[in-house]
Amino acid sequence: MWACVAFVLLWIRSAGCTEKANMSKRIEYTAADFYERLLSGKMMFLYFEQQVSPTISLFLVELEKSAEALQDYGVLVGKVSCQKEPIQTYCAEAKQQHTAFLFRGGREFTSFSLDTVFDVNSIVAEVLFAILGDEVKYVHTDADLLAMEKAAKGKKDIVLSYVRSLGTEEHRALMETAYVYGSKYQFILITGGPVLKQLRVNESPQLSRVWFLHCRVHSTSLTPVTPVTSERCPLTQMRKALSTLNLHTFLQLLEAPLVSDVYVDPSSVPPPQSPYQLTPQVFLFSHPATVHLDLDTATTLAWRLRGLAMLLLVHRQSPAVKTPEKYNAAYRLPEKSSEVKYLTLHSLDDVLELFTKQEEEEEEEDHVDEEEDSHLGELDDEVAAAVHKNRGHFQDMDSVTQLTSDNFHAEVAQSSLTVALFYLKWDAVSMHFLSSFIEVAERLEDSQVDDVHMCVVDCGEWTDLCAAQPGSAVPFRPIAAFPSVLLIRPQQSAQHYRGMLTGEALHCFIMMSRMASPVPLSTEEEVTSFLQEAPHPDLATYRPDRILGLIRTASQPGLSVFTEAAKSLRGEVLTGLLTDGLVEKWAAEYAADPPAVLLFPSWRNPTVRPSLLLVDSSSKELLARIYSALLPPVVCGYLSVLPLQDLFLYNRLAFKGQKTVFVGTALQKQT
């Protein structure tokens, strides 16, 4: 086991190490490389490594990641090790340790403090920002913005954005978009404050936002919404969160025609194609008589829905349009089944509400999720949560008998073996196990096992039965742990079931318990059958541990010790007791000196010689030795081969106590 785990872990570790080495080699450059590329005028973002501290090594990891990202923008990312390649200009001063440099056109273009370029997002954002230079402008006041708008009017549309803080993913998304669309739109970054106020954003905390200013086309010709006198460009706000993909989709959407004409029924209009696939479609209907009016309405609405949805005008004169006259609008949402929904509108605001509301709802939903995440209204106990989730389903208790203080004695006297589950309704483990218990009862019923009486006791109700004081008539001590399963036989003290709380384990235990313990064996046939046959057809796949007692006469002192131990083992282990004649034969065969015990653990091939134990003075000691002898050596592969429950059922003790810690620490030490 040790060796096996160690090997696996070492293998992973070494694999990890080589991979890491490769990575760091990929971005490492020599002085010669550096000078060569510098002369070629390529853009380079370089770090000169002098000493490696934990912060620096974290930075290097990020640097590696950004190499790939910046490759797409033609920027070479790398590091030069000063120890190996002492480049005088950049390796001399200590403060250069905290600086990364951008080279462009054969010279140092700019430098960044490591405080500003700390992760892949900030590296990409800052480097692109530096490269884009004038293409992305900073605007601090509304007056500046107005000037920009005037300058752009009729030429370029403006993408105005506010980023909550620099070096974030949002900043990076904006810079990446600016790099792509920089020539098409004027990108402006605002720093918050007065400009935000002008844009009527007064929420706090302020989120990163993007607006699209329609400056290129003359506004008056487009929309009746914007006052004609306005000097400002009409603007559309991006409603989705700022990310590269969303921003890209948004810009694409604004490029799309404002209103498209269709001559087929909305249901046969295909859902929008990429890049608009996430955009809802809104259909308005046009009559030949009012076609101009309808177009105006559509345009007005389209303006208000810009960036939110695409507007399609369906011309009713086409015979393909099947929509009933009572509807004047329809829409199709992305994702959620591409079905078209029809409705009758009374005002344009209704449509707008439809989409804005939905958004809010989604936001609200998110909000609810967050609350649940804070674990206020949710059960954090997996068993309790599962039981709680299932609370609507009432247990069908027909297959079990409910024991009460009144009927207890009568019920127990009825059958040779009563299996009683003591439970509390509010104890999740109890309720969880109750359903398994009922399943076992049903299973026993189905397989016609009628000598086992399955009972349950609700200890929340029959408190005096469960807490019956010692000395009273019940054959058990007060129950103080729930759930508890007791095996009760008339005129005997009850036996506690101490196995796994699963139906499978309990069923197995009950079936095994039906066998006498020990089984008296008087002939060789009986012994063979005891050692080789399954105790019950239901247990055919299960291989129990077996032990045989070799005790000469009924008067030998070991007998009571052995029978006592056999009683405790009932249900877990099959025990047999050889009678007089056979004892000598078996003792001779295995060189045993009775009283002795032969063990046939389930994990060992039955043909192999059994292990031998001498009978101790006390059954307690004997039990302990039997348990440890039945323990299998832990074999590598168990973990993957056996399903968990079986693992724990078959190798009862393998993980008990320190063994578990042992396995656990074996793993811990190797990592």
Binding site: C4, V5, V8, L9, I12, G16, H375, G377, L379, D380, D381, E382, V383, A384, A385, A386, V387, H388, K389, N390, T404, S405, L424, W426, D427, A428, V429, S430, H432, S436, C459, G460, W462, T463, D464, A480, A481, F482, R498, G499, M500, L501, T502, C636, L639, S640, Q645, F648, R652, F655, K656, G657, T660, V661, V663, G664, T665, L667, Q668, T671
Partner: protein, 686 residues
């Protein structure tokens, strides 16, 4: 170990000394370890515990049967203690919450319902029940012994009490349990108090009050009971006492006016000639005057009845040595205040002021002091009901009510049956070395066990804020001690014989909210568990202390609190059905509180989760240690909610281990995601 052994030896010697004396007659003196004075409900209750423990005891009773008080009282023969038979539950402990008359015993059938099925049973049923109790349990009661003198004797064997009966026979007792109840009518001295009839002797025939104006002194249940019976005959009934009427359903105190008796409130407020008045009884004067006007006109009858006038001390002319009945009209308040409410004369004045403890039989060497509360009517006792200054003399039953006067139910059968049990447990420890019974629990079972107790326990429910369960935390196990006397908590170790470990203790108490609210108004119930501390109705409260509070702490506790300020407190939100078993509202908050107190994860985990944690953590959660790793794992059940385990806790034991469960071929795939999440963020060094 040493003190325990010493204690054992001492108690054995003591017991030996006692038994050797026992049953021997020295100069006509009988010796008993335990003498119980009075065969009322409290005396018999104690008798049961003593008999169960096979102690040498005797119950002495001056009358010929048990519970003789109830042969006479209540005068109108209806008990107002609830005898609720139909609770819809089989739980016998729970049912005792709604059975105010039964005594505790091991016989589940020996309940009051055996003698009466009525909700408010007839008073005659109670002595009948008590004699059944004596008979079925074979309690040793000696009737006809009227103890007239109790004195304490100091001897080499220790202090003992000697009781002398009417035949001058002596009973010597090592421990004296006084359960004589309250039966001496409480009286107040004022001018003309001899003109007043007492509750104990009034006629209970309503016809005797036909057309009469009646003034009743007192506003308790006996006063209202009397009022109720004559309401249909009397011309007007006025009730007078110093304090305004207190309604039991508002004060939660069963000794205050019960709704079953409050018809007069109706007739008063529905303008029907009856009424309530407040005045100090010491200040009043009752004066008898012949009604002169009537005498002439009513000459036919030949017999006239004198009228009783209510006066006030301040209008009496000073230095007057006349008979109280001779009051001149000028001395009546009506002469001075023309709208004096009680200016009209009465035909009868009845005193219904309750009863007081009979201190007179106690010699000064054995007399407990008067209580500070209850107008000194009750004996003062310690938190464990031992008379102050009288070691070995305990007070039981109604007489012990000074501890929770006007608070809990210690003066009533359904309360003092539990305090008697507590006293008995204390005796068992003090004199016989048996520690208080306790239940040893695995800490993982603690939540369930507390829920069981708050869901059914009748002792802390009836004796709210007086009795509470004490949980001694001991790491993976704990000791659960039921129904300890909260006020005696500083002496817990010496009284109970259990030691408090460094893990501290939790006390489970039932209590009402402290805010005075409109008890029938809107918003009276708190349903949000996050605001459980605002609960108004009876609800469980858990106090966590890291060490036992001291006497000083107890003295300095916030006003109205049953216990000193704890290290942590948890209110379980009040529940309309008094069933505190909601998974979200009750169980989870409770579990989190316990986790906070014992700094351990108490959640239950499935076998899979336990397995994962066993591989990735040095120490598994407690439920895995006591369950799964003990081969008692729980099967994963359908779709157990994922991510629950990731919710946190046990971070202290997080060890960077098993970091590669996802990648290692040695692990089955289904372990990978979960394993990774348990140890997420630990992959840095690969």
């Amino acid at each position: 170990m040493e003190p325990n052994l010493l204690c054992f030896i001492l108690s054995t010697l003591f017991g030996f000394a006692l038994t050797s004396f026992n049953q021997h007659l020295h100069n006509g003196t009988r010796h008993y370890n335990y003498c119980v004075l009075g065969a009322g409900p409290a005396g018999l209750q104690m008798g049961f515990f003593l008999s169960k423990a096979n102690r040498d005891y005797i119950i002495l009773e001056r009358n010929s049967g048990p519970g003789s008080f109830f042969n006479k009282y209540p005068r109108h023969r209806k008990l107002i203690s609830i005898n609720k038979i139909h609770t819809g539950r089989w739980n016998r402990e729970f049912n005792l919450r709604h059975d105010w008359n039964s005594l505790l015993s091991d016989n589940p059938d020996l309940l009051f319902r055996k003698v009466s099925g009525e909700f408010y049973p007839p008073a005659d049923a109670f002595p009948l029940y008590l004699s059944t109790f004596v008979r079925e349990l074979g309690l040793k009661v000696q009737y006809g012994v009227d103890v007239g003198r109790v004195r304490s004797v100091q001897s080499a064997a220790g202090r003992s009490y000697v009781l002398t009966d009417q035949h001058a026979a002596d009973y010597s007792c090592s421990v004296l349990l006084v359960a004589t109840g309250l039966w001496v009518p409480q009286e107040v001295e004022f001018a003309g108090s001899d003109l007043v009839e007492g509750y104990e002797s009034i006629s209970t025939n309503p016809d005797d009050y036909k057309g009469q104006a009646v003034l009743i002194l007192g506003k308790g249940n006996s006063a209202f009971e009397t009022t109720q019976s004559i309401l249909g005959r009397a011309s007007r009934v006025h009730m007078l006492s110093s304090s305004p009427v207190r309604l039991a359903w508002q004060t939660h105190y069963v000794g205050d006016l019960r709704a079953v008796n409050n018809e007069l409130l109706d007739t008063y407020q529905l303008k029907s000639l009856d009424g309530l008045v407040e005045a100090h009884l010491e200040d009043i004067v009752i004066a008898k005057q012949e009604e002169r006007g009537r005498r002439r006109s009513g000459g036919k009858k030949g017999e006239t009845r004198a009228k009783l006038y209510l006066g006030l001390q301040k209008f009496r002319q000073a230095g007057d040595e006349r008979n109280a009945s001779d009051v001149s009209p000028e001395e009546l308040p009506g002469h001075h205040i023309d709208n004096f409410p009680l200016r009209r004369p009465y035909d009868r004045v009845i005193r219904c002021l309750g009863f007081r403890f009979n201190f007179s039989i106690f010699d000064s060497s054995a007399r407990p002091p008067h209580s500070h509360n209850a107008k000194g009517r009750l004996p003062g006792v310690t938190a464990w009901y031992e008379g102050k200054n009288t070691p070995g003399l305990f007070l039981l039953g109604t007489a012990s009510h000074s501890r929770d006067y006007r608070g809990s139910a210690g003066g009533f059968v359904h309360g003092f049956r539990y305090t008697a049990r507590a006293v008995h447990r204390l005796l068992e420890h003090r004199y016989h070395g048996n520690p208080w019974p306790s239940t040893r629990l695995m800490t993982t079972q603690l939540t369930s066990w507390i829920l069981k107790r708050v869901g059914e326990a009748s002792g802390p429910y009836q004796m709210f804020e007086v009795l509470g369960d004490v949980i001694l935390l001991q790491g993976s196990h704990c000791e659960y001690i039921e129904e300890f006397l909260l006020q005696a908590l500083p002496r817990f170790a010496s009284l109970s014989g259990h030691e408090v470990s460094s893990h501290g203790l939790i006390v489970v108490v039932m209590q009402y909210g402290k805010k005075k609210i409109d008890y029938l108004g809107r918003g009276r119930a708190e349903t949000d568990w996050t605001k459980a501390w605002k609960s108004n109705f009876l609800h469980p409260v858990l106090y966590y202390y890291d060490s036992l509070p001291t006497e000083q702490d107890m003295k300095m506790r916030p006003h109205g609190w049953p216990l000193p300020r704890p290290k942590a407190i948890h209110h379980m939100v009040e529940d309309f059905l008094t069933e505190w078993d909601g998974p979200l509202s009750h169980i989870q908050p409770l579990r989190r509180f316990l986790e906070h107190c014992i700094q351990t994860d108490l959640r239950a985990f499935s076998a899979e989760t336990c397995f994962r944690s066993a591989l990735t953590h040095r120490r598994s959660p407690l439920s895995c240690q006591q369950g799964y790793l003990n081969q008692r794992g729980v099967q994963r059940y359908g779709q157990l909610t994922r991510g629950v385990y990731e919710a946190g806790l046990v971070p202290a034991e997080q060890v960077s281990a098993g970091t590669s469960t996802g990648a290692s071929p040695a692990f089955p795939n289904y372990l990978a995601p979960a394993g990774a999440s348990v140890s997420s963020g630990l992959k840095l060094d690969l």
